[in-house]
Symmetry: C2
Subunit: 304 residues, 2 copies
DNA sequence: CCATGGTCATCTCTTTTTGAGATTGAAACC
DNA sequence: GGTTTCAATCTCAAAAAGAGATGACCATGG
């Protein structure tokens, strides 16, 4: 006796006929007859009397019909409950590096809110180290940080590989090395707000290779940085993904020039991290899926 | 999702392992793995996390486990209820002809009481016509009467074919016809109590063929009748089945002699009848089964 | 560091179950 | 009295479930 038997039995009871039940079940009369017989044999009880080739339900059949109703509706309830169990809803506390928040998240967040209106998304930006601490302390449900992150209590999943490039105004000479840069005298840097890991990265590089820094300014948007750099005021280190609009197809019209950076600094993997102990967060999973969906295609483009 | 899936799922949850669950389910690990995967696909939800090749139940899995418990116990309850529904119990009001009650029922009733102690069997003897009326009026649940009975409101089932024979003392001359009997002068008849259909039968026969009746005595047991006949006091018409003990293997020691009766009177079918509207009486069905079981073998012997 | 044992996933092949279609038989209905 | 309706049964095809072997992965303990 399983639920499909009960479904069939219930249909026969409702229709009062094997033939009509077969139609409703999108099957063939012979199968319904056979399965009814098997069910009766299984239960050791006649569920219907065959009186002149018609079916008349027996008391035992009536009893079973009641149970069938209860069982089937309970089974439906179980299905629904399980489905709802990982339907994303509630609060999702997300942390992100500034750069990622500015360069990648706007589109993703819009899509996510559209797909999952029942999730309240709270976004907070901070440096990677701080975000990691917050996730460990369960202050955040997940964070997008500069990877890799290896920690026994954390799980992570790569989101996107950013190629960081050095940019200058389009009319600057090519900069192949730190030495080329040093020739120009002390450089003026334009970076994202404090805590940005790219800011750290360029500082480390220039210090390592002895390039003097004249000044460093921080901004809250890439547009501002790119604007200053395009105006020839200085250089910056940014993800290649954010400068598409400033690199015209026609090189003569480009406002920016891209310069290589040392390979050990050129690539930065952004990963999503979360606490191992909270592996079940439908909202977090859904957000990760959104990220993969919207950034996955880019991935191919970048790593090409 | 059917009950067997839930049974399997419950076992996995209880054992915390696919391998051990497979053992308990007397199957193979690969099948449990596969069916678990199918169940998860069906529900569109992960029920377990695979963490280092171990299973850790998810919130959705926990939810389902609760439902599985409820569903499976409800299903068991349904099985039991349906089984009990046609477990014979309560009162069974049975009617019977005197002859059948005396010749056939004692052994059957004993077996029935042993097999179904929860049924209170109430037996009442009466002539066929009266029993039929009582069954029609729902005063009786079933009756053993002389068949056939054709009535739109009644169902019937043959129980036994009785061959009725004429008996006399062993030293009487053979009686081939009513004429042989008439030669002996007025006969003395020994019959069962009033209402016995065999009594009617022999009266009809003797009157029809002009055999004078000297006297007729009625008794309550076959033993008394057979005793009187064996003593040469007269004749009787009885089922052949009751005289076995009086017909010794050695003809010289037999106390009774059996004579043929006209074929139209020789066979009497005893049938069980019940009201069509009360087709579901587990106790009645069980009694009929007892009858068939204990009298069925005799049937072959008699009709041989 | 490697071997080992335990675990789940996956593949293939066999067995069992279920389904489709055609036919039969019995009653009910014009 | 033919026609229709309905359930039972049979056969063959399709699908599902099971068995067994293998692989991958990790933990654990020399």
């Amino acid at each position: 006796m399983d639920l499909s038997d009960l479904r069939m039995f219930r249909t026969i009871v409702e229709e009062g006929s094997v033939t009509r039940a077969a139609e409703r079940l999108h099957t063939v009369q012979s199968n319904v007859t056979t399965r009814l017989r098997l069910l009766e044999e299984d239960l050791g009880t006649a569920l219907f009397d065959r009186i002149n080739r018609r079916l008349v339900i027996t008391p035992a059949g009536n009893l079973l019909a009641g149970y069938a109703e209860r069982l089937l509706s309970l089974a439906d309830e179980a299905r629904d409950a399980v489905r709802r169990a990982d339907l994303p809803e509630g609060l999702l506390r997300l942390g992100s590096m500034e750069t990622t928040a500015a360069a990648r998240l706007p589109g993703v967040i819009a899509a996510f809110r559209r797909a999952h209106p029942r999730v309240e998304l709270r976004l907070q930006t901070a440096p990677t180290a701080s975000l990691v601490q917050d996730v460990l302390a369960h202050q955040l449900d997940a964070a997008l940080v500069s990877g890799p992150v290896i920690h026994p209590e954390l799980e992570s999943r790569p989101v996107v590989v950013e190629e960081v490039v050095l940019i200058s105004a389009a009319d600057w000479a090519p900069i192949e090395s730190a030495a080329d840069l040093a020739q120009r005298g002390p450089v003026e840097l334009f970076t994202f707000r404090e805590g940005c890991s790219y800011r750290q990265r360029i500082f480390d590089w220039l210090r390592r290779d002895g390039v003097p820094i004249a000044r460093s300014s921080e901004f809250g948007t890439f547009e501002a940085i790119l604007g200053c750099v395009a105006a020839g005021m200085g250089i910056s280190l940014v993800p290649r993904s954010v400068i598409g609009a400033h690199l015209d197809d026609d090189p003569s019209r480009a406002t920016l020039r891209v310069h290589p950076v040392p390979p050990d600094l050129a690539f930065s993997t952004t990963v999503m991290i979360w606490h191992r102990a909270r592996s079940h967060q439908p909202a977090r999973q859904a957000f990760a899926d959104c990220l993969a969906e919207r950034l996955g295609p880019l991935q191919a483009e970048i790593t090409r």
